[in-house]
């Protein structure tokens, strides 16, 4: 880990014996208890959410959930197979556009860019990652939906998710490439490689685990986004009808069913949440493992 400077100081706080006044000791003990409490309180919601999602979602987690269409209100059984498929397709298409885009932009920032332009593009990437997801939805609505280029469609939803993923992928590529030691670039240049050759056959492979981690985390993050899909991919009660038709997605279905007054739909929302959380958590853990294995 890169953060070790403070804790690897030559002695640790606990090692130091000193005579303290009672007030000082009491204050220290109270503060220690307080920050420990902060840590516990911070983690309670995580376990509460995971517990409830698992508890409420598990008893409808069956094969029908993945293979059937949502039922009419008030009718039991059925599933959200179309939404699961829709999420995979919309996120997949978004990645196809966004991953090369972001990786190339990251390569430029780390390897070829310089000066104010590089600073400006890095700033733009950071600012873009702070733009609320719903506004990216509004942007794609104005650009692709309202203009009739795609209309409400899986394509429009993918475009919105691609914009959301872009800054994360760009930044993590940029950072992963910067971690490759400068000596390797000099060595490659010394044996006659041009800079694109150096990047493509030396630097990029060396930085690959970091880039893959960034990409997977970006995908996991947007897979759970509903806000930018509400008025781009819209929603549908049918199976996938092609990239140019409105498409049901897991996150939007959870939203619609959670605020619906029917208990059967609320149960589907819990199970959908369980599936979504499992997808996101498993991909996050995989991403972490890829990075840590080095």
């Amino acid at each position: 880990m890169e953060h070790h400077s403070v804790n690897q100081s030559i002695f640790r706080a606990g090692d130091l014996k000193q005579r303290s006044s009672i007030a000082r000791t009491l204050f220290a003990v109270a503060m220690t208890v307080l920050v420990t409490a902060c840590a516990i309180v911070t983690l309670i919601p995580l376990f509460a959410v995971l517990f409830y999602v698992g508890f409420q979602g598990i008893h409808r987690l069956d094969l029908a959930m993945f293979t059937q269409l949502p039922p009419a209100p008030g009718i039991e059984n059925g599933g959200i197979g179309n939404a699961i498929l829709g999420t995979l397709i919309v996120v997949g298409v978004a990645s196809v556009f966004s991953v090369p885009f972001g990786v190339f932009a990251g390569i430029y920032l780390s390897e070829f860019g310089a000066g104010k332009l590089r600073y400006g593009i890095r700033l733009a990437a950071n600012v873009l990652s702070g733009v609320p997801a719903i506004l990216v939805g509004v942007f794609i609505y104005g650009l692709l939906v309202a203009t009739g280029i795609f209309g409400f469609s899986a394509m429009a939803g993918s475009a919105a998710l691609a914009v959301l993923m872009l800054p994360t992928i760009t930044r993590s590529t940029d950072e992963a490439l910067q971690l490759v030691p400068q000596e390797i670039r000099w060595a490659a240049t010394a044996v006659g490689a041009s800079s694109p050759q150096t990047v493509l056959s030396i630097i990029l492979p060396a930085a690959l685990p970091g880039i893959v981690t960034g990409v997977i985390l970006a995908i996991a993050r947007v897979a759970g986004e509903a806000a930018p899909l509400l008025f781009t991919a819209l929603g549908s009660s049918l199976w996938f009808q092609g990239l140019l038709a409105p498409t049901s997605t897991l996150s939007v279905v959870i939203y619609n069913f959670a605020i619906a007054p029917f208990q059967e739909q609320q149960e589907l929302a819990w199970t959908g949440s369980l599936i979504l959380v499992l997808m996101v958590l498993i991909t996050s853990v995989i991403a972490r493992c890829i990075c840590c294995r080095r």
Partner: protein, 325 residues
């Protein structure tokens, strides 16, 4: 090692320039140009977002002007259309403020806990990972949990506040279930990971000499934390808090599920309210003509708010990085 006599050393061959084939050179040029185009496009996307939203908002801006910011009518009925975004602007700011007020003490406390050696390092790493997971849970799942778990849970608190502190404007309405309070709490949970991560990074980025010097002068752990480490890391923490504030302002799904989506302005935290992001999520898909433009106008306000906050946060975080790296 035979040719040590400089006279006998053969002259080095001339550097062989221009031996790369045309195709190779074109590839090299093309590759760099391609990365440049993609990188510059990231900048153009920001511009595109601002221009698209501003263009869409133009009809509403010319019709309602600045009055839009200060009135609270929201009437999409054709012929009697009138739009004002004051309740949503207030709701956006208030919900984000509640979230920050709850999350800052917890997040900074957690960051101190995770940057000190209270517990063994492997448990600390596990906790850092758990905080990351907290950030990975999708917004709709927090919303669902909020509706069915949190709201029933805090309902008695709301009733108590209204019964005994009802004279105070903030608690002046009977709790409606959905409203500002559960929204603020869930938003706080959602921004906790950012505040924790950035505060911890700022504390860990401090040179270890600061701490050693403090101990050498007889400071206890907590003297060092309060008098040396927190002041030194403060600007980084503030940057992180601003980023979190930006996130809270634009957070949509959990908010729209919990806030009640009422366009009436109420001082009470127990009453339903609305935010700009929530308004967009609710109305955009079915909106027509002038309503779309009014929604775009509201979106533009949110965009300006988040851009400003992010730019300031970025500036602060960068300045801190420059100081210690």
């Amino acid at each position: 090692l035979q040719d040590l006599n400089p006279l006998t050393v053969t002259k080095p061959a001339k550097p062989q320039a221009a031996r790369r084939s045309l195709a190779e050179k074109l590839f090299d040029r093309g590759f760099i140009a391609l990365t440049f185009v993609f990188a510059i496009s990231v900048g153009f996307i920001i511009l595109g977002i601002a221009l698209t939203i501003a263009y869409g908002a133009l009809p509403a801006i010319t019709t309602y002007g600045l009055k839009f910011l200060a009135t609270s009518a929201w009437n999409p009925v054709a012929g009697r259309e009138d739009y004002g975004a004051l309740p949503m602007i207030v709701g956006t700011v208030v919900s984000a403020t509640i979230a920050v007020c709850i999350a800052v003490p917890l997040g900074v406390g957690m960051a101190i806990f995770l940057s000190e050696d209270f517990i063994p390092s492997f448990i600390r790493m596990a906790l850092v990972f758990l905080v990351e997971l907290l950030a990975a849970i999708p917004s709709v799942v927090y919303g669902l949990w909020g509706i069915f778990v949190l709201i029933p849970l805090i309902k008695p608190v709301g009733v108590w506040l209204n019964t005994y502190l009802g004279w105070f404007p903030l608690f002046s309405t009977p709790p409606a279930g959905l409203g500002m309070l559960p929204t603020g709490i869930v938003l706080a949970i959602m921004i906790l990971p950012i505040i924790t991560a950035i505060s911890r990074d700022s504390l860990l980025a401090l040179p270890s000499e600061l701490r050693q010097a403090a101990y050498a002068l007889g400071a206890t752990r907590w003297d060092a934390i309060f008098q040396i480490l927190i002041p030194a890391a403060a600007s980084g923490m503030v940057g992180g808090i601003m980023l979190a504030l930006g996130r809270a302002l634009g957070e949509t799904m959990a908010v729209t599920m919990l806030i009640g989506n009422s366009n009436r302005l109420s001082p009470s935290l127990l009453a339903p309210a609305n935010t700009i992001a929530s308004l967009l999520a609710n109305q955009f898909a079915e909106a027509k003509a002038m309503q779309v433009s009014a929604l775009m106008y509201a979106a533009l306000i949110l965009l300006v708010m988040t851009l400003l906050i992010n730019l300031v946060a970025e500036h602060i975080v960068n300045r801190v990085r420059a100081n210690y790296h």
